[in-house]
Every structure is written in C-alpha cells, then in structure tokens.
Symmetry: D3
Subunit: 284 residues, 6 copies
C-alpha cells in the first residue's frame, strides 16, 4: 500500500532522472484586487487527472518525458521577501543540479525569485513575458515587491532591451512610457514573436519564459485575479509557446491561475493544458 | 477624514466642471427571464478599482476628462412608469445644464426615460442600438413598458428610419418583420456601421447611443439576463464604439449587466472597460 | 385548469402528428471526471423559455414544425446495461413509428442505446460525430460501457470507415492510432465536413448525427464534464449543423450538457439554441 | 408515450377529485433587495423529486391525499396590479369550486391576490402570518403594492386584531408601532401560537395561513431575498405548522424561496419539505 | 527534494506502524439525486490543512496517533459490483494485517464493500448507522446495489436486530415498516445511543460504525447529495461519536460529502473535523 | 446633484458631531488558508441597505446615534508592518479626537494596529476577544505578524490576565497551554462572560472588544476564511454583545468576514446585523 502521491499528470520521474522539475509557489500576498492565485498550483496538480498525457497538437506524450514534480513550497504569507528567498533557493538548487526549473505560481511576483536564481547562472539572460499587464510600476501603494512591479524589478536586474513583452493591454500611462524606453513591448498580441524567436535562436541567448495566464482572453480564462478583456485565444497562446520554445529556454513559469474565481473549472483545465503543451514543447 | 465617496474610477470632476455626467438606474422589474440588472451600475462603480484609468488602445486617460458620477437613482420597484419618470427627470436636468448624460442600466427599459428627455432638446434624434435582441415587441405579456418593447416605444416617439440596430440575433418573427419595414436593422454583426457613421457624421444629426452589453458573445459577457450565443467580441465592440463616436453623440447608455449571474467577475470587469473606452472615445 | 406540462419550447405537437420525437436520457453513471450531465435534458427543457422559437439565422420558426417532447426516461443509476436497454427500447419505438428520434443526453454513452435501435432499421448507417474527445478507448478502468468508449462500441457494430469524427482534440495516443486505421477522423475543426456531406448526400446513405456539446470551446460552453480548450465557436457549430443536415439524417442526439457546472446559465442557453437550430435545420 | 407533466411530488390527482389545488405565482417585480423569488415554485416542483412522499414526522403519505398541481401562472412583470388580478382570479376559481387554494410564491406581495379572493367567501377571515419581516409599511419608495407593504394592505381589507404575526424580527420602528396598535404581533418566535390556535379552533373562524419562508433562520434557509439572522429552526416551523393546522385553515401560501441565491440547493429542498408537511398537516 | 505526498493532516505514519488505515472510495455512480460524493475523500485530504491536529474537545492530538492514509482507490464508474469488489479487497487487506480500516466515501453504497470484508473476520458484527435516510429499500429503479438500499443489503448479510439506526428522518413508508420489524431504528436523533453503547460495550461485540454525514442538519452540512432538514448539530454528532467509540468499534466509514455542492467550503471543513474527532476518539 | 457617498446604513453623522467613527481595514495578506477578508468592510457597507436601521431586539434606531463612516483605508498588500502603521495612525487620530474607533477588518491581524493606538491612551486596557481560534501562536511559518498570532502580539503588549477569550475551539496544543498560563480563556462558548462583565464594569477598566465573526457557527456564518464547526448562534452572540457592552468599552472591531466565500449573501447580512446591534448597544 502506497502513500498518496499527487503529481501533475504524467510527471512521475524521480528527481535524479528528471530533466525538468516542477515546483509550486502558492503565494498571493501582494495581489491587490482579488486574491486566490495561491491555490493555483495545487489545483492544477489535482485537476490534471481530467487531462490526457498525450497532445494531438504536438503528437507527443508526457509519458515520454522525464519530469519531477516537487509539490508546493511552504511559503510565509505576509512577507514578500521571505517568500521570494524560498523560491530563489529552490530554483537555485534545481538549476545547480543541471535541471530545468518550471515554477507554478501564485501571483506574478514569484517570478522574481526564480529570475534571481537563474540569472546567477545565466548573466546574459533575456526574459520573454506573456501577460495582459505591463507589471512595470516602480511601486504599488508603497510596496516595491508587488505583482504590479515584478517586471520592473527584473529590469532593475537585467536592464534595457532584454525584456520582451507580449499581449500587454493594461497598465498606467507611465508604464507604457517606461516600456517605450526600456523594454521591447508588443501590445495586445503576439505580433513580432516569430521575429524575436528567430533572433534569440540565432544567438542561443538563454531565455526565461514567464507566462501570466491572464494574457488569455477572460472568455478562455476567467479564473484570474484581474481579468482583462481583449486577450489572446488558447490556440494563439499554444502557437506562441511552440514558437518561443525554439529558442534556448532555460527556465519558465506559469502563473496567476486563481481557481476559486472560476467555479466551472474551465480555467484550471486550461491552465493544465497550457502546462502540458509547454512541457511537451520545451527542448530540454 | 472624508466621507466614503464611491465613483466610477477616474470620474472625480465636480458637477459644475463636468462635461459628462454618469447616473445609474438600478431597475429590472420588467425583466422576464433572469433579473439582476439592477445591481449593474453599483457593481461597475465598485469593481472599477481593478481597472486602470489609462487606455492603451486609445492612448488616453480618464484623468484628463471631466466626468461627474452622480451615483444611482433610488427607483421604485414594481412601477415602470414611476421609474421612467425619475430617469427622465434626471436626464433632463443634465441635458438642460448642457452636459452629456451617460446612463448606466439596469434593464434596457431605462433607455426610454433618457430618450424621452433627450428628444425634447434634439427632436431630430437618431438612435444607434447595439443589442442581441430586437426589443421591438408591441407588448410583452400585456405590458407595453417592458425591456422587450423598449425600441418599439422609441419608434413610437421618433418613427421610421431613425433607429439603427446592430448585432441583433434574437426576436420573434414579427419583430424581424417589423424591423424590415420600420428600422434600419443589421443583424448578427456591426456590418454597415462604418457607412452609417459616415452618413451621420456628414449631417451632424444628433445621435443617442444605446449599448445593451448582451450584444457581446456570452463567452465574453455571461453576466446578463438573457445570454445569446453568436455575439461579437470585446475588440469588435471596442472598434464599433470608436467608429460611432465619430458621429455627433449627444447621450448614451450602457445596460443589462447582471453581475450576480457571473461569479467570476469577468462580466463586470468587461462592462467597466467598455464604459472606460466609451468615455474616452466620446468627443464631448 | 391544466396539468403542468413542460416541453422544450415550441415542441407541442401530439405524438401522432409529430415528425420528430425528443426524449431525454438523464444518465451519467460512467462519467469519470465531473458528473452532472444527467441534469442536461431537464435543464434544456426548463430554460428553453428564455429562448425565442424563431431563428433569424434560418428564418424558420419551431411553431411551424411538428415535434413531440416525451420528457425524460427514468433510468437506473449504476447499471449501464439497464439504462442502455431502456434508451434502445424508446428509440426503437419512435423509429418503428416512422418518426425521427432526437435523444438528449446525459453522458455520451447514451448514444449507444439509440444507435443500436436505429441500426436495426438502417443497417448501412453512418455516424457523424462532433466532439472534443475521440471516445475510442477499448475500455476505461475496466468498463467497456463507458462514455470514453462509446464510439469504439459503435465501431464494434458498424465497422471501419463509417464513423466520421470532427473537432477531436483529446484522447490517448492509442485512440488516435486507432482512428487513423478505422475511422474518418478530422481533428480540431470541421475541415472536411462540406466534402463529406456532399458524398453522403449523393448516396443518400442514412446518417446518425451525434453532437457532444464539448466540441464547442469552453469559452462558449463551460458547463460540461471535461472541458477542452481549443474548440469551435457557436457559429461554426451552427454552420456545421446546417451543412450536415443536407445529408439523410435519420436520428440524432445532443449530449454532455452538465448545467450545474456553469452557474451563469450560458451553457444551458447555448445548448437550447443548438437544439433549436438543429430541429429547424433537419429535413424531416 | 406521454407528455412531460411536472407536478410537485405526489400531487397527481385530477382537478375534479382534488381537495387541494397548488398554483404558482412566479412574480418578484417589487422585490427591493435581491430578486429571484419568481423561480421559487418551479424549483420546488422540480426538486421535489429528491423528496419522499412519506413523512415519518406525521406518519402520513402524499399518495393518500388528493392534490392537483396546476403549475405556474403566466404573470406580467412590471405591473403589480395585473399580476395580482391574475392571482386573484385563479384563487377565486379554486375557492368557488370548493377546493383549498395553496399558493406558491414568488415574493410576498402575491398573498394579497389570494387574500382578496378568499375574503369574498370568508368575510370574517383571520390571517396567520409567519415571517421575519413585519411587511406593514404604508408604502415603499412610493409604491403601495410592494412586498414590504403586503400585510398593511391586508389590514386595509380586514382591519384590526385579525392579523396574527409570528417570528417577526425586522422592520422600521413605525411598523412595530403600527403593529402594537393594529395587529397581534409575536416577535422573534412562535410564542403564543398554541394559545392563539386554541382560540381560533374554538370559534372555527376561517384562517388564511401565509408562510414567508424567511421566518426560518438563514442557516436553515439562506435562499431568500432578505435573510435575517435570528430565525426559527425547521423543526420549530414544522411544529408551528402542525399546531396552527388544527384551526380552520381555508387557504394558505408558502413564499419567498429564491432558489438561485442558495447554490447548495438546501433552501429548495427545505421549502419542499415544508410544503409536504403542510399538505399532510392540513385537515381538508 | 520530495515527491508531493498528500495525507489527511497528521496521518503520516508508515503502513507498518499504523494502527488505523484510511482509504478513499471515490464512487457515486448510483447516486440518484445529485452526484459529487466521489470528490469527498480527496477534498477532505486537501482541505484538512486548514485544520489543527489538536482537538480541544478531547485534548488529544493526531500527532500522537499512528494513522496511515493510503489515498483513494481507482474505481470503475458505472459498475457497482466491480467498485465494491475493489473496496472489499482493500478492506480485507487492512483487516487481515490487524489494522483498523477507516473508509472515506463516496456514496453510502461503498459501506457494503467494507462490511463484507469485516464480516468475514467478525461474523457477529453489529452495525451502528448514523444517517438521515433509512437506506432500506429492496431496490431502487431496479438496482439492488444502490445507495438507497445499502443497509438493506447489510441486513441481507447479518439479519435482524444487529443494525442500529440513528437520526433517520427520511424514507418510504415501506422502509419504516421494514425497520419496525427488522432493525433497531431511532428516528430523528441520537436518543437511545447511550443505552445501546452500554449494551454493546458490556458484551464487547464487534461494531462497524457507518456515518453518513447527512445525519447532520443541512445548515451545518449543506454539501451532500440529498440534504434533509431537521438533522443533528455538529456538537451532537461529536457527542455521539465520543459515546459510541466506547464500544468495540472494529471498522468505520464516513461518507456522502459532496464538496462541490457547498461552495463555501464549510461542509468539507466540517467533514474534516468529524474525521479528526473520530480518529481521536477511537480506542485502537 | 450629489456625489455618491456610501456609508454603512444610518451612519451619516459629520465627523465633528460623531461619537463613533467607523473605518475599514481591507487587509488579508497574512491569511494562511482562504483569503478574502479584505472585501469585508466594503461588502458590509454596500449590503447594509438590505437592513433596517431599527432593532426590535433593543428598540433602538441607528438614526438616533451619531456615527461617522470614514470608509476604507488604502493599505499596502504584502507588507504587514506598513498596513498596521496606517491602521494605528487612523485609530490614534480618532481616539485623540475623543471619539470611539470601530474598526472593520479585514483579517484579524488588523486588531493589533488599533490596539497599539488605544493602548497609548488607556495603558490599563483589557481585551475581550470573541473568536473560534486562540490566535496565540508565537509565529506562523516564520511570521510573527500573522492573523494566527495577533492575540499573542497583544499579550506581548499588555501581559498576563488582561486578555479574556470566549468561544475558542481551535488552536494548536501549545496555544491552549499558553492560554492556561497567560490568558483568561473560556473555550467553546460565552460561559463566564456575565461574571467577567460584572468585574469589568465594577472597576470601569477600559476594554477593547474584538469580535472575530468566526466565533459564530459556520451554519450562521459560512463566509469566513477558516470556518470552525461548533460555534455560537447569532442570538448568543447578540446576547454576549449586549452583556459586555455594559462594561467600559473604549474601542472595538469586527473582522474576518470574507464575503465572496458565501455566495448566498447571508454572512454579509449577518455581519451587518452584528455591527448594527453592536453600535446600538455601545454606551458612548
């Protein structure tokens, strides 16, 4: 008789054999509007059993991969710095073991922890960012460690021209002004992603891919804290994932599923499918 | 220490300085299927704080406008005529002060109150109507003052050829027959809106714009009393708004959000964004 | 004073006069993920009163048809074979009376009962299958009578090349391998439906049409047990229905609405509209 | 093959044989806070199939009674007077046929229609009223026909000392002042009901029993427009019903279930049980 | 880095050391009204992390016990006999290893599997049954293996006078007649439990305790398929558990939580607490 | 035309005239289980319009009081210390103006901000604490500023014997051990409150009253982050409030309503009623 192990479906490799390591960061303390992203990774793991391991889009199967699911970190609520430190430590361990860290948020601030760790190994890191929101505020209600500031904090670390933003359709005027000067912003859609991918692939520069699921239109993905009409479809996101993964992706995250906000369960099911397709598309 | 004022976000002008005046009509007594539109305007006001004041689509900011939000009228439930009289009085006051009335419903019947007031000042008024439903019944279960009859009542007031209907995809056969003879109906989509706008702009005829949010597809806007599959997307509605506002719009309304019917909150968030974009697009 | 008869809207013919007979199969005992499809037919009947009988798409009205609604069967939960026997008996009665059986599920397994009955009369039957899932497993957790196996069981009865599958985007690798050899599968969309319809129409071969509503994208139809991102829109499904009904359809079903999973009511309203359009499109 | 008749469970008598006649009044146009009581009677009928016909409390079975369920009236929304006239006409027909009318609301205003009809036959009528709210306002936002005024309107008809109110725990100060002078009010509980019943039974005066289900504590019955903490339990209500039905009850109603407000379904199930126990307790 | 093990809180013993073994039976195929009990055991395990391991009622802590949680069985939907066989096999394994089986349902039918296994070892077994429903039908819509028949099937196995039923408040007249002759039924409450416990304790007869959580009042426990007003409170159930566990309990189950039916989460939290208190009260 | 002011019902005094000042602290960043208490105060304000200003329990009316509602503070999410500082500043301002501060949470940690301010003026302050949870942990996942530690932090400030806890039914064993030595704990109920009140009233010692609404049983109040079965009823809480307010209460708070967790709205309505009764009971 076995203990009750709960993985994301098809992610049953041992840590030793794994090429990709999943870890969840159930944190949403800085969420300003509607919290609940803390429940995202556990919901994805739990509901993944309604999903097949096989993708007819890619004709690949999770059972052919070697993925280890390390479950959720136990993070302190109410202290962003402590939570980020724990996320950073876990990402560092995975990276230093030569494996690919795939972080499941949680609110978008969790990305900063992983980026800090990955940047140590890959100082020339670029970030590709799919999101409805620019996340480029310098502070939010006085806090510099906020989901609304996370790409700004990444910019503090890696500087101009290395953050590539897609699907952005919400932000303050000042954020769009900042982006015009400091990031490579592609508002509203994935226009420009193919060209970018070609450049990144050419140079084999290491890339961190961060997917805020609210880049999806709320019709496809209502279960998120701040839904923004006018987003992309699931098939467009799938296409974008299959495009960008031709570059040298060294780490990734998928975040901002707030499962309780969508009682139909569609958002969680869709998040699972995004993760499955991302896992299958990665060339690790 | 201040009282707790609750505006739609960014609508903080004084009444005196305002060019546009918001007012809510929390009424849904004639709703025949699923009530709840009464909660629409308060929900929009409350949830607007999840929205930015800046629109990257139009590169404009609500903070640059002068909008006063007068809150919700206190309307009698169970008496359509009394409620319409109160709406008409409020609209008349705003119009006579030389300001633009923007009514937030409530069920679609509320439009009749505002149209009555606006028509006094602009007897040559045209109505541009975005909706899933024709709303052209002569009566509904014996009531002539019903959401299902509101455009018919408007037709009683302004006659043939001055009601322009878009996105209509539901009604009795008799309503479509009526429309064929008396209104300018464009079923299913915004086809023909650009041409109409050109004509209306040419002549500078005054236009009342009434947006029943159920013109949107239920995937984008489930939170409404009578959702009708086959509607337009948010981006199509946004485009239509930016088109028609090139005409001489003198009053407008946005109605039929029933927030409790969509527990994900997406419908309310989308209604807020429609209102923001409408406010920014108006040339007042 | 009359008893309280509850029909699908506009389906008020007597049994004798009827050309089409609706019957509900409120069964979901083999549903593996999220049950609730048992409530589908009653919800459609009940909520149809929010729908018009007239379709502006087809300019036809249910009031011009002769449809009898026989309500729901009283099926045994927990015994698939008993439930299928009851469904088969009802379908046989309708078919032998020279009428068109239109079955409302319930989970997709119910199709097998109707197919068994229809096949007796039409041994050369083809099946046209709209679905997100291949439903071609040989067994599911040991059960051969399972929603996940229903087209496989139909294949047992009618053999290779007579099952035509559209919109399929989920299944095990083995199911797609099976389809490649034994069925006519069109993954992801309705591509190929026009050509198939032409062939079927030419030969006037009898066709059973089974519509699993989860062929729709979850944005349009979240209220189903296993929502699969990447589906078709309502208008695409409507178009497909109007296409395939040009063939010699002799029986049909609409299934897998689980109304409690979509508290907004949109899924039920959309299912009602699909049924209305299907009834109006049939040439019976 | 039969049409789909939907009764309250066990209420399958013909009209001719029936001693009790159920009729629903799906009306809630004057509801001031949260609408939805219009869906009450249909929900009770539909969900009654989760209930047994047998009561172990009373050791009686609905199958031994003769009850006819005439379904819901089709009432005009937005016109209280028209709706009341239809309710009154139906109640009059039942009363004049020598049967017991049992009205299912809807909002509490519907009681007025039935009381008008019953009062014609029984001019000496008393009203026993179980409710959280006094419903004694003279008008509500200008409307005299409002759920909040219904017992005041009844008082207009029958005068002082003939309205007996129990469980009342909400109202304006003026309503409690009015009650002190004009009605027989028992706040908070059923204290005094046994004594009252004894008096009423003695004199065999005809009694109309109106049960606003929000007399129940919201823990037992959350699905109602205006839940008021501090109510009675189901068992206390059951006891009260079994007590008062020893008097000469000539008509009754059960109202204010708003099923959509309680997604757990408990409120509807409880309303069904209250109706079953009331039917079984009546001495008709 | 560890795999993600998910236990009921505080149940982290190895199987070897464990005195009590939890196992889940996620089965609800025969549920006739509202399914969803299949999700009960996983929800309890998942949500138990909102619970403390310490009980101030008993001043005991789960950390002092040795409980192994073996997770959920993977059961076949749609075949009651196959599911029961799997449950029986697991229970037999636990019993034959000298441990205490504690089964988490699922619908109440699952009890039959465990009783079959336990009865082999303890042929003189008595059953103590807390439930709202008698569950004594001989068949339900033709099925003898149904949740509505489970105690009748147990009676087939152990005969008269060895089934002790408490809190029963729903059933057909025939079930209550059957109980009067064949079981020891205590309707409505726990009256008589202390006396029974004394007798059972005296003789040290082995007892199987089956707790259908719908014995609780729906106000305390709305999340169950067939809620029945008039039940006991949590504190009364806690008291009953602490009473009956003084007897020689040799196996137990807790069933009929349908977590999706109570979106507030209270039912799941309460089920967790019942399980914690039961575990702490058992003298194993 | 007026701006849209939103008060708690009947709290329309000017600040100058007010004796009691309401302020909301929409903070829940340290909530460990289910967030959402941030939405509590706005929901209470908004839904209070379903409540009467008059209490038949106390025969008093809010319109006779002078209460100012200053709305919600705009607090930083993700930094407990910053949020507490803002709460403390607001409470200090109210206290120094000689008015009574009544704080609406938010999670229970907000109490610490108010206690800090009140303690400055009343160094001999006692705290009376109604709650399901002891809230006496020294830290929670490393954070000392956590809802689970708030009374422990208060104890740090005021020491032994001055914290009086009622209804407590959840906590770690260590918290109950701590309470046994350092606080005056009354588990499970209000037993002992009358005696305590008498002592406190005698000495006229200043008292801070903190009401965590989860002291209520989840049947009465499901809308809270961590519902705990076995709580008190609304009427028991009302009685306790009317008792303790005979002491010299100098400040108070009401917290832990998470309105989105109870879609029926009952929890919010009940919280409003608790606040109304508390306001009316205070002798200010």
């Amino acid at each position: 008789m076995q203990r009750n192990v709960e993985n994301f479906i098809g992610c049953e490799s041992s840590y030793e054999d794994a090429k990709i390591v999943l870890f969840g960061a159930p944190f949403d303390s800085t969420t300003s509007f509607r919290p609940g992203a803390r429940f995202g990774p556990a919901a994805m793991r739990h509901e993944s059993f309604g999903l097949e391991t096989y993708s007819p889009y890619q004709d690949k199967d999770l059972e052919d991969l070697a993925v280890f699911d390390s479950g959720d970190l136990e993070l302190c609520f109410g202290s962003s710095e402590m939570a980020l430190a724990d996320i950073e430590a876990r990402a560092r361990e995975i990276v230093s073991d030569g494996k690919f860290p795939l972080l499941l948020g949680g609110e978008h601030l969790v990305t900063l922890g992983a980026v800090r760790a990955v940047l140590e190994k890959y100082p020339e890191l670029h970030i590709v960012h799919f999101d409805a929101h620019a996340d480029l505020r310098d502070d939010y209600l006085g806090a510099q460690l906020s989901h609304a500031c996370v790409l700004r904090r990444c910019h503090d670390l890696i500087g101009d021209g290395r953050i590539h933003q897609f699907c952005i359709r919400s932000g303050e005027r000042a954020e769009f002004r900042f982006a015009a000067q400091h990031t490579d912003m592609h508002p509203f859609s994935f226009d420009g992603l193919a060209e970018l991918t070609e450049q990144l692939t050419c140079t084999q520069v290491p890339v961190y891919l961060t997917i805020d699921l609210d880049c999806l239109d709320p019709s496809a993905f209502p279960g998120t804290g701040t839904p923004e009409a006018g987003g992309v479809s699931f098939l467009q996101l799938l296409d974008a994932i299959r495009t960008i993964t031709q570059a040298n992706i060294v780490a990734a995250d998928v975040n901002e599923l707030a499962p309780m906000l969508d009682t139909s369960g569609v958002s969680t099911a869709t998040a699972c499918k995004v993760l499955r397709e991302l896992l299958l598309a990665l060339h690790v």
